[in-house]
């Protein structure tokens, strides 16, 4: 339809095109904040069995400060989403159009993971490690309800961070993901009998603590 008039987002080109990626690296190379060093402290070693006792506050602090912290927070959420859809797709609970939709959404979440990982590195930091996660996959209805919950939460998480992002290019990238999460949320909402726009005309953001409390039960 109007797709010919639209351009792929800058980040997407950055991810897929090594030339753009080099340019992006050159552009963002100077923006690395002190927060990057702090965030690097959230290292792989913390992601194993030690996370069983991790509180939301600990999780939040291990993302570090500044844009890199936000990117790693988003990356953690995207890891959870991608893992969730991968499990759902394998569960055998869905087939046909529903399975195709789930696979499409899962593919998008994986692209978000890849892009955010690249972005964290470009900011000079260490990308957050993939959390170990488990999701209840009892029946199709409850899985779709969980998917809707996760997507609404994901959209709210991005919205909650938008004003805190310093770098306009990171902000642009986050916005281009944020609206896709909103799209996913809307479709899943309609599939489980919820309104496409549950907040009405103005979607509400969620802060990091609220979001991490919500996802904590799925992190093992």
């Amino acid at each position: 339809m109007n797709t010919s008039a639209r351009k792929p987002s800058a980040l997407r080109r950055v991810v897929s095109d090594p030339v753009s990626r080099r340019r992006f690296l050159a552009l963002t190379g100077g923006t690395t904040a002190a927060g990057a060093l702090l965030a690097a402290c959230g290292n792989d070693d913390d992601e194993g069995d030690a996370t069983a006792a991790t509180t939301e506050d600990d999780m939040a602090s291990q993302f570090g400060e500044g844009d890199l912290g936000i990117v790693n927070y988003a990356l953690t959420l995207e890891y959870l989403e991608a893992a969730f859809y991968a499990e759902v797709a394998k569960s055998g609970l869905f087939k046909g159009d529903d399975l195709a939709l789930i696979e499409r959404i899962g593919q998008a979440e994986q692209e978000h993971v890849d892009a955010l990982t690249a972005t964290a590195k470009q900011l000079g930091g260490q990308p957050a490690a993939e959390p170990k996660a488990e999701f209840p996959l009892d029946d199709a209805k409850s899985v779709l309800e969980l998917a809707a919950t996760v997507e609404n939460l994901g959209a709210a998480a991005y919205l909650g961070q938008a004003a805190a992002i310093s770098d306009p290019e990171i902000l642009a990238a986050a916005l281009s993901i944020h609206s896709v999460e909103g799209r996913h949320a809307a479709v899943l909402n309609t599939l489980v009998g919820m309104p496409a726009t549950p907040d009405g005309a103005f979607a509400q953001g969620a802060d990091m603590q609220t979001v991490l409390e919500e996802v904590q039960p799925f992190i093992t």
């Binding site: 639209r6 987002s9 692209e111 978000h112 919205l159 306009p168 902000l171 309104p195 496409a196």
Partner: protein, 212 residues
Amino acid sequence: MQKPVNAAPELAAIEVEETFSRSALLVRGALAAGALYGATAVTPLIRKAFAQGSMGDIDILNFALTLEYLEAAFYEEAAGVKGLSSEVAGYVKTFGEEEQEHVDALTATIRDLGGMPVEAPGVDFGDAFSSADKFIALAITLEDTGVSAYNGAAPMIESKDLLATAGGIVQVEARHAAAIRYAAGEDPAPEAFDPTLTADEVLAAVQPFVKS
């Protein structure tokens, strides 16, 4: 004249790669906004854009307001479209009310900031209401365009409060687009990263529906 936008060197550079400069975009944005509501109105916007090297938040809000006016008018006229499923008919009502809320909120915000809200443009959606398919096709175009317009403009917003508000609106536009797309059997989220549109691209997309 083209004062460097020192707050956003990365953005400026990225946009050069996209074959337009930030300043050029902003001037074109002013032109585009002006074209939507008449040649006389564009002059102060252009003057301001040239003088400051950028459009301020009020100008961006007025551009968004123009789009919201279009969307609100579109859904209002769509109330009589025949052959819509009950699901889509429900969207026409709900989404139309939400676009009107966006109009009201943007109008109030522009006034709060000491600005002058643009007036509603005249609209002509052609034969878009002659069938359910034609209505849905244009609804998808308008909503997708709205998403890309907000995503393109939002990084230029200086006020963090306004940015959060714009984010809350763009997410709703994305939800509208996805719901209508899915109801029509189309991919609700065709790309993993929603594309952005420049102001002039937005103008090109909506120009056919604006009566001068």
